[in-house]
C-alpha cells in the first residue's frame, strides 16, 4: 500500500542529467550525494545533456543569475492559395522564447506587436494566416494572439486597405469559448488551440495555444482568409504574448569557466513558466592552475630527448608533408572540378528544363491551329533542350571522381541504354557480366565512351527502325570490348563514308576520332537489309 503511494508521487515528472562531456569526452561523475564533477586543468568546454518530460530550464549557480530556457520557437505562416485551394507559397516568421513582461498566462500578459509582409505570387487568389504552436517537435509553452489584421496594398496603386480579422466567439450558447467563427483548430492535438477572455478596457476573446506535450502541436488556421490579387503587397499584423521552452533532450553548454565551485541545476516547469519544484543538479569544481612544478621536470627531459632526435625527424616530416600537399592539391582540383560541374549542371539543367516545358505547352496549345511544320520545329526545340540536359548530367557524372572505376561505369552505361530504349519503345537485349572489376577509368575515357555508345544507340533507333537493340560488354584482361547491334534496316557503311551527307560523315568520323584518341578502335559492320553492328575495342590504361 505504501509502495503504491510512493510510486504515484514520484511519477508526476522526470528530469534527469544523462551525461556530462568535458572537451567532447565523457566526464566521470563520482556517485557522491550530491554528485560532483571535477573538471581537469585546462578543460575549456563543458556540455551537460539533460532529459525531461516537461518544459526544462537550467542555471549554473555561481555563473547564471536566473533560470534559462533553451531556444524554442513557434511559427506564424502567411499562406497564399490558388483557385483550387492548394497552397502556392507560404511565408513564415517565428516567435521565440518569452515575451517581455510575461505574467503567467496569454490573456494576462502584455502583448508585443508583430508584422509579416509578402507579395502575393502569381495565381494567388486568397491569403490566410496560420498560428502554430511548434517550430520543432519538443516545444512546450503558451501563446496568445490578438488584433489580427491584414493590410493589402494593391499593385495598381491606391491607398492600402486594412482588413481586421477579429476573433468572434462561436455559437455554442453554454460554452461561448468552445470555438470561433472563421477559425479552425488543427494540428496533431487540436485541443491545444483555445480561446481565452482578455480583460482589457473592453473584454474580448483572444486566440491561445497551450502546448503542454512535447511531441504534439496545435494551430489556429483561418478558414477563409481574405481575397488578394497577384502582385498585392499583403502585410499580416498581430500582437502576441508568449512563453516557450523545450521538453525532451537538450544540452547546456558552458565555455572557459573561471576557477571556482558551481552548482548546475535543471528543473521542470509548467508550460506557462510556473515552477513545479521538480529539480535535479550537479556540483561542478573548476580547479586553479597551481600544478606547475612536475611539468617543469617533464619539460626538461623532453627537451633533451628532442634535441638529439629533432633534426632527423624534421627532415623526414618535411618530405612527407610535401608529398601530402601534392596529393591534397590534386584532390582539391578534382573537388573544384566537380563543384563547378555541379553548379553549371544545376543552373543549366533548371533553365533548360524550363525551356523544354514551355515548348511542351506551346506544342499543346498550337495543335490543330498551326501547320505541322511549325509543330515539328517546336518539338525539335523541346527535344534539343531535353538532350542538352541529359548531356550535362552525363558530363557531371563523368567528372565525379567517385565514379572513376569500371564497376561504376558499366552499370551506369547499361542503365542509361535501357532507359533510352524503353522511352523509344525498342526491346533491349543486354548481355553484360554482373561483376566488373574495379579497374580505374579516367573521366575523359568514361565520357568519350559514353558519348560514342549513346550516339550509336541513338543512330540505331532513329535510322534503322529496329525491333531490338543489343548491348554486349566483354572484358579480357585489360581489353574492353563493347558491341551495339540492331536488327533494323542497316546501311552501306562504306558508301556513307565516301558519299554520305556532311552530317552523316561527320557523325561517324567523330565517333572514330574519339575512340582513336583513347587508343582504341571502332568498327562498323552493316549491309542494307541486315542490321548494323558497331564494335568498340579499347585497352584500359594502368593508373590514369
Amino acid at each position: 500500500m505504501v509502495l503504491f503511494f510512493v510510486v504515484c508521487l514520484t511519477a508526476r515528472g522526470d528530469i534527469v542529467i544523462d551525461r556530462a562531456l568535458v572537451d567532447g569526452r565523457e566526464g566521470a561523475v563520482p556517485a557522491g550525494d550530491p554528485p560532483a564533477l571535477r573538471l581537469p586543468a585546462g578543460a575549456r568546454r563543458l556540455d551537460i545533456q539533460v532529459r525531461g518530460d516537461a518544459r526544462m530550464r537550467y542555471r549554473l549557480d555561481g555563473f547564471d543569475d536566473q533560470w534559462r530556457d533553451w531556444p524554442a520557437k513557434a511559427r506564424v505562416l502567411l499562406q497564399f492559395t490558388g483557385r483550387d485551394g492548394f497552397t502556392i507559397d507560404s511565408f513564415e516568421m517565428a516567435l521565440s522564447g518569452t515575451s517581455p513582461g510575461w505574467a503567467g498566462s496569454p490573456e494576462a500578459s502584455p502583448m508585443k506587436d508583430y508584422s509579416l509582409a509578402a507579395v502575393a505570387p502569381p495565381l494567388a487568389v486568397r491569403a490566410a494566416a496560420v498560428f502554430l504552436s511548434h517550430g520543432g517537435d519538443e516545444v512546450v509553452g503558451e501563446i496568445g494572439i490578438d488584433n489580427v489584421a491584414f493590410t493589402v496594398a494593391s499593385n495598381n496603386g491606391g491607398d492600402p486597405k486594412r482588413v481586421p480579422y477579429s476573433v468572434v466567439l462561436g455559437d455554442k450558447p453554454f460554452n461561448p469559448l468552445a470555438n470561433a467563427t472563421g477559425w479552425a483548430r488543427r494540428g496533431s492535438r487540436g485541443q491545444m488551440a483555445e480561446l481565452r477572455m482578455r480583460n482589457d478596457l473592453v473584454p474580448h476573446p483572444i486566440l491561445a495555444l497551450v502546448d503542454n506535450t512535447a511531441t504534439r502541436f496545435g494551430n489556429w488556421s483561418m478558414l477563409e482568409g481574405i481575397a488578394v490579387a497577384p502582385g498585392d503587397r499583403v502585410t499580416l499584423t498581430f500582437s502576441a504574448s508568449h512563453s516557450l521552452g523545450l521538453a525532451g533532450e537538450a544540452v547546456a553548454r558552458y565555455r572557459d569557466l573561471s576557477p571556482g565551485s558551481y552548482w548546475f541545476r535543471v528543473a521542470l516547469f509548467r508550460p506557462n513558466g510556473d515552477p513545479t519544484g521538480i529539480e535535479t543538479g550537479l556540483a561542478i569544481e573548476v580547479p586553479a592552475p597551481w600544478r606547475q612544478r612536475p611539468e617543469v621536470w617533464l619539460a626538461g627531459i623532453v627537451l633533451i630527448g628532442g634535441a638529439v632526435f629533432g633534426i632527423a625527424r624534421t627532415v623526414t616530416l618535411r618530405r612527407m608533408k610535401r608529398r601530402l600537399e601534392e596529393v591534397e592539391r590534386a584532390h582539391a582540383l578534382e573537388r573544384e572540378r566537380t563543384r563547378i560541374a555541379r553548379d553549371l549542371h544545376d543552373e543549366i539543367g533548371a533553365g533548360l528544363t524550363e525551356i523544354a516545358m514551355q515548348n511542351f505547352w506551346v506544342y499543346r496549345e498550337l495543335q490543330g491551329a498551326a501547320p505541322s511544320a511549325t509543330l515539328d520545329r517546336v518539338e525539335k526545340a523541346r527535344q534539343s533542350a531535353v538532350d542538352l540536359v541529359r548531356s550535362v548530367d552525363a558530363i557531371v557524372w563523368a567528372v565525379n571522381p567517385a565514379n572513376d572505376t569500371l564497376d561504376r561505369f558499366v552499370p551506369y552505361l547499361t542503365h542509361s541504354v535501357e532507359q533510352f530504349l524503353e522511352a523509344a519503345d525498342v526491346r533491349a537485349r543486354i548481355d553484360v557480366p554482373d561483376d566488373m572489376p574495379s579497374l580505374p577509368l579516367a573521366g575523359a575515357t568514361r565520357h568519350s565512351l559514353f558519348l560514342v555508345i549513346r550516339e550509336a544507340v541513338n543512330n540505331a533507333v532513329k535510322h534503322a527502325v529496329p525491333t531490338a537493340v543489343g548491348l554486349v560488354v566483354r572484358l579480357a584482361g585489360k581489353r574492353l570490348s563493347i558491341t551495339i547491334a540492331d536488327d533494323g534496316t542497316g546501311f552501306d557503311a562504306e558508301g556513307v563514308a565516301a558519299t554520305g551527307t556532311a552530317a552523316q560523315r561527320s557523325g561517324l568520323a567523330n565517333m572514330r576520332r574519339r575512340i582513336a584518341e583513347l587508343g582504341g578502335q571502332l568498327t562498323i559492320q552493316s549491309q542494307p537489309g541486315s542490321g548494323t553492328k558497331v564494335v568498340i575495342d579499347v585497352a584500359l590504361p594502368g593508373m590514369s
Partner: protein, 224 residues
C-alpha cells in the same frame, strides 16, 4: 467525378516547383495539396496532409534524400513516393527505391510524363529496368541466405515473403521484359502485372529500408 489524386511536391528549385504546381493544376484528376522546398519541411508538414502521391527530388540541399524518403515512407504507408533524379548510376536509384520510393522520374521531367507516372504509380509502380530489377532480386536474396547445413550447390531461395507470382514477375523483369510481354507470358492483364510490381516494392521497403538508410549514413560519414 471521382476524387482527384492528392499530390505533394518536394523540390528546392523554385522554377521547377512552380512548374510542377502548374502542371498539377491543369488536370482535373490531380490536385496539389502542398509544395515544400526542403526535406525537413517535407517530413514535418506532409504527413498531416495525407497525400496519395509524393513527388520528391532526391537532390535536395539539406539531405541525403534516402533518409527523408525512409521517414516519409514510414509515416505514410498508404501513399506512393515518386522520386525525381538525374541520369545517374542505378545503385543510387536503387537505394532510393529500397528506402521507400515506388518509382522514379528522370530529369528533365515533361508534364505528360509526370502526369502519366502519377497515374501509373497509383495502379502499380513505375516499371523497373533490368538493371534495377536485378538489384531488387539480389536484395531479397541477401535477406535470406541459406542456412549453413544446406549443401553448397542448393539454389539460392528468394525470400519466402515474395509470393510465387511476384517471384516470377521479378525474374521476367530481370530478363528485360516489358509489362506487355510479362502479361502475355503469365496470362494476366497488364494492370495485374502493375499490382504485383507495387507489392514487390512494398515488400522491398519493409525488408530493406533501414539497411539502406544506415548504409547511406555510413557512406556519408566516410566522405566527411
Amino acid at each position: 467525378m471521382p476524387t482527384p489524386i492528392r499530390v505533394a511536391i518536394v523540390e528546392d528549385d523554385t522554377r521547377l516547383r512552380r512548374a510542377f504546381i502548374d502542371v498539377l493544376g491543369s488536370e482535373a484528376d490531380c490536385t496539389c495539396v502542398g509544395a515544400f522546398a526542403t526535406g525537413t519541411d517535407a517530413v514535418r508538414d506532409i504527413p498531416p496532409l495525407a497525400p496519395d502521391v509524393v513527388i520528391m527530388d532526391v537532390n535536395l540541399p539539406d539531405s541525403t534524400g534516402v533518409e527523408y524518403i525512409a521517414a516519409l515512407s514510414e509515416k505514410l504507408p498508404q501513399s506512393q513516393i515518386l522520386i525525381v533524379t538525374v541520369y545517374q548510376d542505378p545503385e543510387t536509384t536503387f537505394q532510393a527505391l529500397a528506402a521507400g520510393a515506388h518509382g522514379y522520374l528522370v530529369k528533365p521531367v515533361m508534364p505528360d510524363r509526370l502526369l502519366a507516372a502519377i497515374r501509373e504509380v497509383r495502379e502499380g509502380g513505375v516499371p523497373m529496368t533490368r538493371t534495377i530489377a536485378r538489384k531488387v532480386i539480389q536484395a531479397f536474396r541477401d535477406r535470406s541466405a541459406p542456412p549453413p547445413t544446406l549443401p553448397a550447390e542448393a539454389p539460392l531461395q528468394i525470400d519466402a515473403s515474395l509470393a510465387p507470382r511476384e517471384q516470377q514477375v521479378l525474374e521476367l523483369l530481370c530478363e528485360g521484359c516489358y509489362y506487355k510481354e510479362i502479361a502475355k507470358q503469365l496470362g494476366i492483364s497488364i494492370s495485374t502485372v502493375g499490382t504485383y510490381v507495387k507489392r514487390i516494392y512494398e515488400k522491398l521497403h519493409c525488408t530493406n529500408r533501414y539497411e539502406v538508410v544506415a548504409r547511406a549514413r555510413g557512406e556519408r560519414l566516410q566522405e566527411d
